[in-house]
């Protein structure tokens, strides 16, 4: 069997200003430990408007309206520059405002746990009627609830409040009165993952002319867990998202691995397709409200806006070889194993040079490395430096040690083989996969031949192991030979392609 290909990618961001304040853990922790803090007082002044979030260059890159390299032309901090002619919709997806997302929470809610105030429901109906992907779902918003009813759920029954423009507009109810895994807080976070995952999934389908009924399998790879007290992480976000996305012929499962999970999922999907188990597999992940405003204290201290103000989501379709789209070289996979060790050198060797050695490649044979593409506008003021740049320097330094490049060329390598980061710091979201959409373009119509996707995860956060984790995989330009069952020769394939091109040309002339 030949390699699987990246057939399409969808990306979505959701601007969630009120959720930063009410659901981001930096803020909720501060409210418990230091309720009168200066930070909490100043925070609302630092929250950006939806327009500013749409006009923010890294966000425009995320949805495909700008290229990663465009960021090199903008002086940092990027938040000081608003992109002219920015659009909420892009070729890869969209940036959704908070009110529409609250409607989406209700639309994807299968257990009537989301309650939205009556008047606000009317406003949402008008907005959703105009949304290209959800206009058919307006009825799912129902008529809404009286505000007094919502206040009762929040004040007396531990419901998680939903705010918009600092007003209570709805809530997520708990699903059980004693089960700690079905609390309103957990259900809210899980519904956020589901809803934002559905948004990315729908964008993937819509923007890439995919027949949703062709999807066989979905792998969800976010960082949340759903289940009740008898199976905390039972799952299955994947099937829930597939259901909302209309993928009638799909089933699925969840893959977890902290921030590395999307790259694990990518390798799994490509392997399932290569093995012939499934033809079309979608990997998808929604975003996390917990990480909103994670570095907010540093941003406010440095008089910057709260830059962690969006949820991130993505969906990527992996399909059998079509002779066109870039192939996923599942034979060139890097793994940080149990025995690898934790020094940066051991980590980079296992993830970067080990797979290259398998393919007889040099570090410079990979045109673009997509590492953790965290936006440095967010991480630098928080003291975490420029994460992608640090990774590129490490890769280059290893290249010097292997004599693949000269020491004086480290910075040139970083510029040519790297990219500035543009992904929101949503844990799993920056992890290699934000580049998949661009990789598909640059390895087909563009002039690149090889890219590497690298995902890394901090497993120790779960307290089950002190280990760190990571996986990587090489993506390559398609050699153009399509896989056809039944042993059709290359010559016949060429004839078939030529024939369909002639048909297409005739069709165009006919119009």
């Amino acid at each position: 069997m030949s390699y699987a290909v990246i057939k399409g990618a969808g990306y979505a961001l959701v601007h969630t200003p009120d959720m930063i304040i009410h659901n981001g853990t930096t803020q909720t922790t501060e409210r418990i430990t230091n309720p009168d803090s200066e930070y909490l007082k100043k925070l609302p002044e630092h929250i950006r408007s939806y327009e500013k979030v749409v006009n923010y260059a890294p966000n425009q890159v995320y949805i495909g309206n700008m290229k990663p390299s465009d960021l090199e032309e903008i002086e940092m901090p990027w938040c000081n520059t608003e992109v002219e002619g920015a659009d909420r919709f892009g070729k890869f997806g969209e940036i959704m405002p908070q009110d529409e997302f609250i409607a989406l929470l209700k639309i994807v809610d299968a257990f009537d746990l989301v309650k939205i105030e009556k008047g606000f429901t009317q406003t949402l109906k008008e907005k959703i009627t105009n949304h290209p992907l959800f206009k058919k779902d307006v009825e799912k918003l129902k008529d809404g609830e009286e505000l007094a009813e919502i206040e009762k759920f929040v004040n007396e029954q531990h419901a998680e409040a939903i705010y918009h423009n600092e007003l209570l507009v709805g809530c997520v109810k708990r699903a059980h009165d004693v089960d700690t895994n079905l609390t309103a807080h957990i259900l809210f976070e899980n519904l956020v993952v589901k809803a934002s995952g559905v948004l990315a999934f729908k964008n993937l389908i819509e923007k890439n002319n995919i027949h949703v009924e062709d999807i066989d399998y979905v792998i969800e790879c976010s960082e949340e867990a759903c289940g009740d007290m008898n199976q905390r992480g039972g799952g299955n976000f994947a099937k829930a998202i597939a259901e909302c996305g209309g993928a009638l012929n799909a089933t699925g499962s969840d893959t977890r691995g902290f921030c590395a999970a999307p790259t694990h999922a990518l390798i799994q999907a490509a392997s399932l397709v290569k093995a012939g188990t499934y033809e079309n597999v979608v990997i998808v992940a929604g975003g996390a409200t917990a990480k909103l405003g994670m570095n907010g204290k540093d941003h406010v201290k440095k008089d910057l806006p709260i830059l962690e103000d969006v949820l991130g989501a993505f969906a990527i379709l992996i399909s059998k070889n079509d002779g066109v789209n870039p192939v996923i070289r599942t034979d060139l996979v890097g793994r940080h194993t149990v025995g690898t060790g934790s020094s940066p050198q051991a980590v980079i060797t296992s993830l970067i040079t080990a797979p290259l050695d398998k393919g007889g490649l040099k570090i410079t044979d990979i045109d673009k490395y997509s590492v953790e593409m965290q936006n440095p506008d967010i991480t630098k003021p928080a003291g975490a430096g420029d994460v992608p740049e640090a990774n590129y320097k490490m890769i280059a330094a290893l290249g010097v040690k292997r004599k693949d490049l000269e020491r004086k060329d480290i910075l040139i390598f970083v510029k040519n083989h790297g990219m500035p980061g543009w992904a929101p710091t949503q844990g799993h979201i920056p992890s290699g996969v934000p580049y998949a959409g661009f990789a598909r373009e640059e390895l087909t119509t563009g002039d690149l031949n090889r890219a590497m996707i690298v995902g890394k995860g901090s497993l120790f956060l779960g307290r089950m192991t002190n280990l760190f984790d990571g996986v990587s995989v090489v993506i390559e330009r398609n050699s153009g030979v399509e896989e056809v069952r039944g042993g059709v020769s290359q010559e016949e394939i060429k004839n078939m392609i030529a024939e369909s091109m002639r048909d297409f040309a005739a069709h165009l002339l006919g119009e």
Binding site: P344, G385, M394
Partner: protein, 96 residues
């Protein structure tokens, strides 16, 4: 640990990637937590602090092991900035 072994017998070794964060960590175990948040707020331990890329550490360990474990990062990090920051912390706050 400083109570058990004596502060003069403890060296704190850092591996932080940025001079600023290495300095902040060094300040915490010398002059006390500058953010006044943790258990070392206001506690001046004055410990000896070094970063793994500083020459004092490099000269004290096996050169081959150093090259294998740290050689790559030495190329990547802004070693001069880290040395400057760490020396400044030692000069200001180290008691030993």
């Amino acid at each position: 640990m400083t109570e058990k072994y004596g502060a003069e017998n403890v060296i704190v070794l850092f591996g932080a990637a940025e001079a600023e964060s290495a300095g902040l960590a060094a300040e915490t175990v010398t002059n006390g937590d500058p953010t006044f948040a943790g258990s070392l707020a206001g506690v001046q331990l004055g410990l000896k602090t070094y970063h793994a890329v500083e020459p004092e550490f490099k000269e004290a360990v096996d050169a081959d092991v150093y090259e294998e474990q740290i050689g790559m990062m030495e190329m990547v990090l802004d070693v001069d900035a880290i040395i400057e920051e760490m020396s400044s912390m030692r000069e200001q706050f180290c008691k030993f």
